[in-house]
């Protein structure tokens, strides 16, 4: 019964978020941009440049990953602050739901919105590539799945930020850490190797830094890798769910007693 109730709450928030995202027309802009990126990359063939298959695929799927991540940060960052700003948080919290349920519902709304947008954009790029006779191979399905798992981390983290920072702050920091995730972790790994003391100090930092690049199979797909082992996918799913839960609990510590 509790699970059914939780699902009902999540469903309410998810449907509302999807309707809002479609009606804000952000998705259409991203869709048009994705098509343009593929078209622009392919247009080089008209100038006599050949063997661009990898380049076109890379441009298409990298754009989709980037656009979906940007939209994900924006959607997650506005879930709670907009309700507070519009004062609609009051009628929501006046319902027989706990603040934890509200937080999880908002997280689910942001995550599903990200996944739906990402899958839609990816399918459009896939259709374009198929039309251009550049099929990406079966790893494409794993690419969709793993990236969707990555959005668990992204949405949990940004919703957590939005409970501690101003909406603009959450958006900026969320965007910075998401897009710069690879740079931060690579830099830390470099520092890590220089001294054992630093290694002890930086390992926990490394663990909590966004490991967003782990969820990106774009290059493997572009270069035609075989599908990765299902256990690796299971590991990523576990990591994504655990880290999202961790960030939501941190958010809840702040939100549960927050005066609104």
């Amino acid at each position: 019964m509790t699970l059914a109730r939780d699902m009902q709450i999540c469903r309410a928030f998810v449907i509302a978020a999807l309707l809002e995202t479609v009606r804000r027309r952000e998705v259409y802009v991203l869709l048009a941009l994705s098509v343009l990126m593929v078209a622009a990359a392919y247009s080089f063939t008209f100038f006599g440049v050949h063997g661009l298959e990898l380049f076109v695929k890379d441009m298409g799927f990298s754009s989709v990953g980037l656009f979906a991540s940007v939209l994900g940060v924006a959607v997650a960052a506005r879930q709670l602050p907009e309700e507070i700003q519009r004062r609609t948080i009051y009628p929501l919290l006046a319902r027989p739901i706990t603040r934890w349920q509200l937080l999880v519902g908002k997280f689910a709304a942001a995550w599903i919105t990200c996944v739906v947008t990402f899958v839609t954009l990816s399918l459009v790029v896939l259709l374009l590539l198929l039309a251009l006779r550049m099929p990406p191979g079966w790893i494409f399905l794993q690419y969709l799945l793993v990236r969707s798992l990555g959005f668990l981390w992204l949405c949990g983290f940004v919703i957590c930020l939005s409970t501690y920072l101003s909406p603009a702050g959450a958006l900026t920091v969320g965007m910075l850490l998401t897009l710069g995730a690879g740079v931060f972790t690579r830099t830390l790994m470099f520092v890590d190797g220089t001294s054992p003391v630093m290694k002890v100090l930086l390992t926990p930092v490394y663990a909590f830094l966004p490991q967003y690049s782990l969820f990106d199979l774009t290059k493997k797909m572009v270069y035609g890798w075989e599908p990765i082992h299902p256990l690796a996918i299971a590991g990523l799913a576990l990591y994504g769910a655990a880290i999202a839960f961790f960030w939501l609990r941190i958010a809840w510590l702040r939100f549960r007693r927050q005066a609104i």
């Binding site: 509302a16 519009r86 009051y90 009628p91 007693r257």
Partner: protein
């Protein structure tokens, strides 16, 4: 069992460099089932802070609040409450019907009930023809009607309204008054804060006056009739002197007797 019971409630807000502001100061009152109670006070008196504590939006520093015997910390205490804030700009990209549908789901109503209630309520608040247009195209008064509908959605036993008539035009206010009376006739308890003294005088069974976070008077409207020129004159004297004028008269009468 009382619909609302508040005991020695204290709500403070931190102020940098000075002592915390005591918005609600040792406040106690109760509201019986089936009453319409007006919660009156000047700006900053503590009305909204009290309502926020009652609805669980603002943690109280001390004291307690309960709804139908359940402490307000428990989410289930709000299962029988309909709440309407002063102004809420419902999601501009949803329609009134979708907004109500979402609230119905959050309340735990089943789909059939939601469908019926949404249709009925949009008709009741006069928004049936606007059911499928996005909220961003609605006026402030229309949004307030969406709010009224969401408050009534789950057939609440208690309605808590925070200065709701401020966004409504005279016709809207009249409709709200009629709606509240109809709710009272159905046995619903209504607790509302307001600046509109004439309105309170017309529809309330009882008024509670709060000033600087403390309850300074609690009177049945019948007690005031014939003894003070109007609720407004009673209120102004009370706030300016800090003394309940009827209590003074009562004491003088008792002394004579």
């Amino acid at each position: 069992m009382d619909a609302i019971r508040i005991e020695k409630l204290v709500v403070t807000y931190p102020r940098p460099g000075t002592s915390p502001l005591r918005a609600v100061d040792n406040l106690s009152f109760d509201v019986a089932q089936g009453e319409i109670v007006g919660f009156l006070g000047v700006n900053g008196a503590g009305k909204t802070s009290t309502i926020k504590a009652l609805m669980g939006f603002q943690p109280a520093n001390s004291g307690s609040a309960s709804i139908f015997g359940e402490p307000v910390d428990a989410a289930t205490s709000r299962g029988q409450v309909g709440f309407l804030p002063e102004t809420a700009l419902y999601s501009p990209f949803l329609t009134p019907a979708e907004t109500l549908w979402m609230h119905g789901e959050l309340h735990g109503l089943d789909r059939t009930t939601i469908r019926e209630r949404v249709q009925d309520l949009l008709q009741t608040v006069g928004l049936a023809d606007k059911a499928r247009v996005q909220n961003r195209t609605l006026s402030k008064g229309m949004l307030q009607r969406v709010g009224i509908a969401q408050a009534l959605l789950a057939r609440p036993r208690l309605l808590v309204l925070d200065e709701v008539s401020s966004g409504l035009d005279p016709l809207g206010r009249r409709d709200l008054r009629n709606l509240l009376r109809a709710q009272r006739d159905d046995g619903v308890t209504v607790f509302f804060s307001s600046h509109q003294l004439t309105e309170a005088e017309t529809i309330c069974d009882r008024i509670l006056v709060i000033h600087q976070g403390r309850l300074v008077a609690g009177r049945r409207i019948e007690e005031l009739r014939g003894r003070v020129p109007s609720l407004e004159s009673f209120f102004v004297t009370l706030i300016e002197t800090g003394v309940d004028p009827l209590a003074v008269v009562d004491r003088q009468v008792q002394a004579l007797v």
